[in-house]
């Protein structure tokens, strides 16, 4: 996936679409930004320069689907995390999860969420649940899986039509579909003709914490130098030009 940060307006439509698609329950009143579940979370960052140099930007954060020594997959004691080599998607099996949260400690992107409460939907709202996605129980970890319900549906459709492969337009995650600015581009990075592969080849993209060597598959594109500098950095730092993040998090 490639996310064009210069197009992102921070509207949060991707967050809402993600929650609806994946049956993420509404946050409990006692939940905080640190205990709520948001498979996709938009951070607002600033360059902390005085006006007129002051700038801000939005960075949608989701599971980066690490492809190299996937940190969460290697640590899970009971193989509840699976990095599928065919799709490159890192999947979570909540029905096998023990809730030890070791994977959460291992994830440098904080893209994993624990169910601190039992999921509850307001009366009537349960009718809006997506039948292709199982709800999760209290005490297990969950995360973005690029809308596997949609992937399975597309695969089933292809199989019904006697095809082995799915067409690119048949499978698009909810966040990508909902983005009004068209900031998110999704496709097979291993396929040279895919749109994200072309964008990466053009240059101007960075991957977050690339130096850790986890091989993230989310590329962030921006022409703004200050933003690219921050995104390419390994740590926040405390010197001049500190860049503080503000999370747009609900549940």
């Amino acid at each position: 996936m490639v996310i064009d940060l210069d197009r992102c307006t921070g509207c949060g439509a991707c967050m809402v679409a993600c929650a609806v698609e994946n049956n993420v329950p509404p946050a409990r009143p006692e939940a905080t930004p640190r205990t709520g579940i948001t498979w996709l979370r938009v951070y607002q960052i600033e360059n902390r320069q005085p006006v007129p140099e002051s700038r801000s930007a939005f960075i949608p954060m989701l599971c980066q689907q690490c492809g190299q020594d996937t940190p969460c997959a290697s640590v899970c004691p009971q193989q509840a995390v699976e990095a599928d080599p065919r799709t490159g998607i890192v999947d979570q099996m909540p029905q096998r999860c023990l809730g030890c949260r070791y994977c959460m400690a291992a994830c440098p992107y904080h893209a994993r969420y624990f169910n601190w409460w039992d999921p509850v939907w307001p009366k009537g709202m349960e009718k809006t649940l997506n039948p292709d996605v199982a709800t999760r129980m209290r005490g297990v970890v969950e995360k973005c899986n690029f809308c596997h319900g949609r992937l399975h549906r597309a695969q089933a459709q292809a199989a019904a039509e006697g095809r082995r492969d799915i067409r690119p337009e048949e499978y698009v995650p909810a966040c990508v579909e909902s983005c009004p600015a068209g900031a998110m581009v999704f496709g097979d990075l291993a396929e040279e003709r895919s749109e994200p592969a072309k964008m990466i080849r053009k240059g101007g993209t960075v991957r977050l914490l690339e130096s850790l060597g986890t091989g993230p598959k989310i590329y962030y594109k921006t022409n703004r130098e200050w933003l690219r500098e921050i995104a390419a950095r390994g740590a926040p730092g405390n010197g001049p030009g500190v860049h503080a993040g503000k999370e747009q998090a609900n549940g």
């Binding site: 409990r28 006692e30 905080t32 640190r34 205990t35 951070y43 960052i45 960075i59 954060m61 020594d69 940190p71 290697s74 640590v75 899970c76 004691p77 009971q78 193989q79 509840a80 096998r96 999860c97 023990l98 809730g99 030890c100 949260r101 070791y102 959460m104 400690a105 291992a106 994830c107 440098p108 992107y109 904080h110 994993r112 969420y113 624990f114 169910n115 601190w116 409460w117 039992d118 129980m137 209290r138 005490g139 297990v140 970890v141 977050l208 914490l209 130096s211 850790l212 060597g213 986890t214 921050i230 995104a231 390419a232 390994g234 740590a235 926040p236 405390n238 860049h243 503080a244 993040g245």
Partner: protein, 431 residues
């Protein structure tokens, strides 16, 4: 523990359960000692029950602070409980017979620490009833799998090592089959000591490896030596170093509370010496590891070590405190035979060593999670909820209770009778 009854008074009402030659306080006094601990245990069980029934929302952990007080204290008590395996290793494998004086006590301490940690872990996981999944679907690449397997096996070994001590109780010895069983089990002690040492080496190491393998946490990530990160070996060495110190401290504490001489001074001094040698080796290797991490591992991951220590209260002082004040200083004291001969020095050094391992486990768990990784991340803080604190107080109360009951009815210190007889003889001579 119960204080010694005044000489000349009537025997305790449970004297038929107390070994001949051991002086124990009245049952009433003993009850007075254990009742507050029972109350604390009940409070802990209530808090743990809330976490199990209502969920981990009762804690102050969150998606960012996925581990908290429980994991930090689990790691600490497992390191302190290492005295069991290391004393067994010294006695049965290296044939240091003087360790016989403390081996029973060390086994009970180990059993208490490990079983307490397992109880806390049971509450800590989100789906405790799925704990068996790790045995059914084990991920052989995960350090946590190794920890789960080794701790489970070692707890069984500790239980088997505890059984002969338990069966030597005055009343139980009257059952002939128990006596035969205990005798037969005792023959296998060497096997269990060897198995215990092997298992302990692995899980102590794996607990260190838990954090050392975290590529996504450059503060904790360490390069691999063979197939394990350096923290694997450092955790083994630090646990082996403080295990004897903790046995020393508990022996002194029990001695003070019960007002009895339990072991000869030279045994405590010997424990201190062993601790000192291992601690010195640990401090040296820890320094080497820290330097490699500062100049190589962390930089390669794109992180300047200096930045890790710019977030207060975790400044450079914590590193200095861990390595020098709670590492180098106690090691130097424990290696000095003159200082070791003085109880205040010996005890202070042992306490500093134990505090050092606790600080190391704190740094690896809490500081690792508090530090930001993303460039637009923030430093986080965490404070445990009363349910978390109470659960662990319950574990501590459980430990005190098991140890107190064992001390009263079992022969935890084989030299105690001998020393009591000597003291009695001396008193007679004086008269």
């Amino acid at each position: 523990m119960g204080r010694e009854c005044t000489r000349g008074r009537s025997k305790p009402m449970d004297s038929h359960l107390i070994l001949r030659g051991l002086e124990r306080c009245t049952f009433r006094k003993f009850l007075g000692w254990i009742l507050p601990w029972i109350a604390l245990l009940a409070f802990g069980v209530y808090a743990a029950g809330r976490c199990l029934v209502l969920g981990l929302n009762q804690t102050n952990m969150d998606n960012r602070f996925a581990f908290g007080l429980w994991i930090f204290l689990d790691l600490t008590i497992i390191a302190l409980g290492a005295g069991a395996f290391f004393t067994g290793f010294l006695l049965y494998i290296l044939k240091r017979s003087e360790m016989k004086a403390v081996i029973n006590s060390a086994v009970v301490i180990g059993f208490v620490c490990y079983s307490g940690a397992v109880c806390a872990l049971f509450v800590d996981v989100g789906q405790p009833l799925r704990s068996w999944f790790t045995f059914w679907h084990p991920n052989v690449h995960s350090m946590l799998t190794e920890v789960t397997f080794c701790i489970t096996c070692y707890l069984i070994v500790l239980l088997i090592e505890y059984v002969p001590i338990f069966l030597k109780n005055r009343k139980l010895r009257q059952v002939p089959s128990f006596l035969v069983f205990e005798h037969e089990l005792h023959k296998l002690t060497y096997v269990f000591a060897g198995a215990g040492t092997f298992l302990s080496f692995f899980h102590q190491g794996s607990l260190g490896g838990l954090f050392g393998v975290l590529r996504g946490r450059p503060f904790a990530f360490r390069p691999e030596l063979g197939i394990w990160p350096s923290t694997f070996f450092l955790f083994i060495l630090s646990a082996a170093a403080v295990g004897p110190s903790f046995v020393l401290l508990t022996t002194w504490l029990v001695s003070k509370i019960s007002r009895k001489v339990l072991v000869r001074q030279e045994i405590l001094s010997q424990l201190g010496r062993i601790s000192g040698i291992l601690l010195a080796a640990y401090v040296f290797l820890k320094c080497v590891d820290t330097l490699i991490w500062m100049n190589g591992t962390s930089r390669a991951a794109g992180f300047d070590v200096h930045e890790f220590y710019t977030y207060q209260p975790f400044g450079v002082w914590i590193l200095f405190f861990e390595i020098v004040v709670l590492g180098l200083v106690p090691a130097a004291i424990l290696l000095d035979s003159k200082k070791r001969a003085s109880m205040p020095w010996l005890l202070s050094a042992a306490a500093l060593a134990c505090a050092g391992v606790a600080l190391n486990r704190f740094v690896m768990t809490i500081q690792t999670l508090a530090l930001p990784t993303l460039p637009f991340d923030r430093f986080l803080s965490y404070w445990p909820s009363w349910q978390e604190s109470a659960t662990f107080l319950g574990v501590a109360a459980y430990g005190v209770l098991v140890y107190s009951i064992s001390f009263r009815y079992l022969n935890l210190f084989p030299q105690e009778r001998e020393l009591a007889a000597d003291a009695a003889a001396r008193r007679e001579v004086r008269r």
